[in-house]
Symmetry: C2
Subunit: 242 residues, 2 copies
DNA sequence: GCACTTCATATAGCGTTGCTATAGGTGCTA
DNA sequence: TAGCACCTATAGCAACGCTATATGAAGTGC
């Protein structure tokens, strides 16, 4: 079996890499395997992708498109926090459906260097959290909320991947998910009764204003003024009053 | 610089591996580098440790001893949940202090295979959560609580490692930590006022009894009876009433 | 004191890895 | 037809994890 024939070598390489990666079971995939399956010799790979990591990045980019498509698949429910909930579940499901690809995307950690893909996923979640912040439902700036939730989301997904498929307990994921969302949301967004979370209303209002400015692109202030203003706003948002 | 001289080759190999690992900055460390620094040839490594992974496992085991020592360093405060809080912070600090070692320990994920080290860390946390469960402070069986908290703990630590040191925001870790602990704890253990979490008192009592049996080793029941009894108890504990 | 076993280390090299210096073929534009 | 990019192949390098084999050292039984 190979991809010889009709398709251009670049596409054949991408497909071969994706296929071998999916079948690898987590072990390494060699460039020779890939080029052989693609019906191509080594220099072709390096001409198109620079190096092995470049090829994998390209595969990841395709995988991320799929990932984003999954995340955007559902129409916004009008309840941003409910959307975040589904986003979490989609994330976990993507990891369990394609563990090898997921591990290449989120499992290749190196100190002090964040893969582009992670930043993208974070931006995606932050974007959604911004809507919640505009609605005054967020206790924490969207950026910080996104980072925390995503960290827990990745951690939970990695843990579930290490478990044998029949033993995976998705209720743990649901519990962690709800705990994280609960933690970043204001009382008015919560199902249960009111409760003092230690955040003053000024902080919540500052967060909402900040988020609203991010989406509306107001031109009342000059760019330099706006920059400083946002900086102050962020300082207020992150001041803990507890 | 090398470890030639007095110490036995096995120790020299361990030290050389640990040192190179710490200085690697996350990139791969070759057996040739290790053996050269240890002043030893290749077969010596394979005689003592079987293969490269065996050597790394040995390094990890030493690292884990240090890790456990850190975790046990503080005397139990009598408030198990407070101890969990400190355990979380120790975990994060260990990861940030020794990122390369931490990544070898917790970052080498493979589908459907959990490293021994992770199971050990989980057992350590479960052991501490058992105390909370005995005190009726747990909303969830200790095993499940430990798994969730540890997953979030690892996820958060990995995320912090990818950030550049000056930008690391430990408040995110604290927030996530408290969110997870809050989620698994019963209302009576919480600082803020009472709140219905949807868990009936029978579930909480079952969890407490289960945990108490784990530590006390009661001999009122035969082992076969106990096994069945515990199974039922666990079934009650995990029945969600929300 | 001497053969014998056992453990520990060295010499040398196998097969595979990621990657590349160099050259040749192909198709388009002038 | 000439020239010029673009793309691909031949062949091979250095580094990798690992091992078949041999040699030395240390203990043991007679």
């Amino acid at each position: 079996m190979s991809f010889d024939g009709q398709l251009p070598p670049k596409v054949r390489l991408l497909r071969a890499a994706a296929e071998l990666l999916a079948a690898s079971g987590g072990s390494a995939v060699s460039t020779r395997q890939i080029t052989q399956l693609a019906g191509v010799t080594a220099p072709t790979l390096y001409h198109h992708f620079g190096d092995k990591e470049g090829l994998f990045d390209a595969v990841i980019a395709a995988g991320f498109e799929e990932f984003v498509a999954d995340e955007r698949d559902f129409a916004p429910s009008g309840q941003p926090l409910e959307d975040i909930r589904r986003m979490w579940d989609n994330h976990v499901q993507f990891g369990l459906d394609q563990p090898e690809l997921y591990l290449v995307m989120f499992g290749n950690i190196r100190p002090e260097s964040r893969p582009v893909i992670v930043a993208d996923a974070e931006a995606l979640m932050e974007e959604m959290l911004n809507k919640a912040a505009v609605a005054g439902q967020l206790n924490v700036p969207p950026k910080e909320a996104a980072r925390s939730i995503l960290a827990a989301n990745v951690g939970m997904t990695l843990m579930l991947i290490t478990e044998k498929a029949p033993e995976r307990n998705l209720e743990l994921s649901a519990m962690t998910r709800d705990a994280m969302i609960f933690a970043v949301s204001t009382e008015q967004a919560r199902d249960s009764g009111p409760e003092d979370t230690g955040k003053s209303s000024v902080v919540v209002a500052a967060i909402a204003l900040n988020a609203a400015l991010q989406v509306s692109n107001s031109d009342q202030l000059s760019s330099s003024e706006l920059k400083l203003f946002l900086e102050w706003l962020h300082r207020i948002s992150t001041s803990s009053t507890s």
